[in-house]
Homo-oligomer: 337 residues x 2
DNA sequence: GTTAGCACTTGGGCATGTCGAGTGCTAAAC
DNA sequence: GTTTAGCACTCGACATGCCCAAGTGCTAAC
């Protein structure tokens, strides 16, 4: 019983099963693939693979299907990332060019990726922790309500309405703005919290309370831009692969809607030597996604933010990985410096 | 055959069917409701109702289920909007208080509404057409790239990066900003387009090109804040009511994702005398939503923006309408002046 | 206008039987 | 030692036939 052939059999099982959604038997295998041995031999190999926990039989006299572990081995050792078709490359290129607004780019990107893969696509907003303060704006909305706007050099804008706790004139507010902006322009968002007290201390005593409130508002903004967000597209694809989620897609939709879950998941995925991160089935520490897999990769300057797809474990990993990687690369290029 | 009793029969059919999801027959009807007549009489009434197209039988020897038209009559003439339970009122109140950031309020609101109704909840961002220009900010990102920020008195912020087409210093940009802001502060967003050319005309000839580009950017921002957005929650509820969407929920998810569809739908729904807007099944001019109903109502100062839910036609309209209305009222109060 | 009674329709559930795919095992062949 | 052929066995998928309960529509009587 040769080891290479066993892997070959696993590969064939994964490919056939992904293609047909039906448990694949020994006979069908020798017919569809020219393995050069008889079905009986394959049966022996399959028994060994089952012994190792790589495949399993849904019931006694059915073919075998890959387990999570089987997919894992397949992804790690067997499959090669398929190149995209020229048509797909063109689609990516044409769809992502001609727009420089961040929201817009990300929106187009997820839609594209979901169409390309027929799965649910997700993309994290780029991290801003190493972004710098570009501009600060205070706008008086009502006697004590101030709209605080924080603009980063990345082009990201965060805003919030806060109650300053004391009446404040336009002039006083402008003065505070100048004070804050003068001290903080160019400060990394990540260090904003440390720098704020010093600024507050320089404010006139009569404005101290307001200055304090504004500082808290700014800190919250810097915080909330580090606390990430994501965009998503293609949830309708889940319905198509209804059959692949035995329990119904409810829990999956819940997970997707609870963005915190997805964001943590994406953040914690480790990339392999190819730069791809793949989590399969129960490897994902979230019950609702026990039948799902996530394929993701980093993008942007330091590859800190992730883009990826979520689909059933029974998925065409090579093609999907190729699409994710290609889209991530184009996205990096567009957002690039 | 009395007309009032026929309506009563329709009411009973709708209520039972919504409750049990099973076609309801004449015998079960007289048992569950004390109608004071025999099943044979009910059969006659049902035949008449079917004649009028208000109910239909899935197959020969099954009970009847309401048609879209039947639901419509039920909603318009028979049902009374149920009052919410005190617990629900409390839930609404406690969940929506303690936050003044628009995004946050809307996010909490949809989540709440989707939980309350067990349906998909959607809410339009408030219209800004009658909002006024509060503040304008230009930030130089790169030699020719300017981030244009438009802040309305409603607290809404819109931003975009534009290419001004010529190199511009910080000082020049500040000058342009003062010029724009001086002329436009307080202008309704809806009239921004008309006012812009005059401002551009006052710019120094050397900055004319940039001023023009900035004006176009501002106009686009005013436009894009009228072009509305929406927030959504509770899509997982669709999976629960899987059975009610015979074809699968795919098309429904597609419609929801294609926000343009939902926004048009919400905008075009007319409210009835109670202030509620209900679209049932095929009344919705979108094939994917043929099995769905939308219950919505306006909120905010002029009730221009809508909040509502989407679910299967087989839904508990009275309770749902009550929840939507209650949430809309609380939301109006919170956003109110 | 209402009721009782009855013949008729029909989908759903159930038991039964058959078929085919697929397995595991053993013994022989290479 | 590995591969192959053969065979008994298992089990789900499918078709068939059957019966039953629910429900209808109609007619005639109240």
């Amino acid at each position: 019983m040769s080891e290479p052939r066993k892997l070959e059999v696993l590969r064939a099982i994964v490919e056939d099963y992904v293609h047909s959604r039906e448990p694949v038997g020994s006979k069908a295998l020798v017919e569809r693939h020219h393995l050069g041995v008889s079905s009986a031999t394959i049966r022996n190999d399959m028994a060994a693979l089952e012994e190792e926990g790589l495949i399993t039989a849904p019931h006694t006299s059915a073919g075998r299907i890959p387990t999570d572990k089987g997919y894992r081995l397949f992804v790690d050792q067997i499959s090669a990332v398929k190149p995209l078709s020229p048509a797909e490359r063109r689609a990516i290129q044409s769809l992502l060019e001609g727009s420089d607004d961040l929201d817009d780019v990300l929106d187009r990107t997820v839609r594209l990726l979901s169409q390309l893969t027929n799965q649910v696509a997700v993309v994290q907003y780029p991290h801003l922790s190493r972004a710098l303060v570009r501009h600060i704006e205070f706008v008086l909305l009502a006697p004590r309500k101030v709209l605080v706007v924080l603009i980063a050099n990345s082009g990201k804008v965060e805003q919030r309405v806060i109650d300053v706790g004391q009446d404040l004139g336009d002039d006083a507010l402008a003065g505070l703005r100048a004070r804050f902006l003068g001290s903080l322009a160019g400060t990394p968002l990540s260090q904003l919290a440390q720098s704020l007290p010093a600024v507050v201390a320089t404010a006139a005593p009569g404005q101290r309370q307001a200055a304090q409130a504004l500082a808290i508002g700014l800190e919250a903004l810097a915080q909330s831009s580090r606390e990430e967000r994501m965009v998503m597209a293609g949830t309708a694809n889940l319905a198509r692969s209804n059959v692949d989620f035995p329990l119904s897609i409810g829990p999956v939709l819940e997970a997707l809607e609870e963005q915190v879950v997805m964001l943590r998941l994406l953040s914690e995925m480790a990339q392999d030597h190819r730069g791809m991160a793949v989590s399969i089935g129960r490897e994902i520490p979230y019950d609702g996604l026990a039948e799902a897999s996530v394929v993701a990769t980093g993008y942007g300057p330091d590859s800190a933010a992730k883009i990826g797809i979520l689909g059933p474990t029974r998925m065409d990993y090579p093609t999907t990985m190729a699409a994710v990687r290609a889209v991530a690369r184009y996205l990096s290029r567009i957002l690039g410096p």
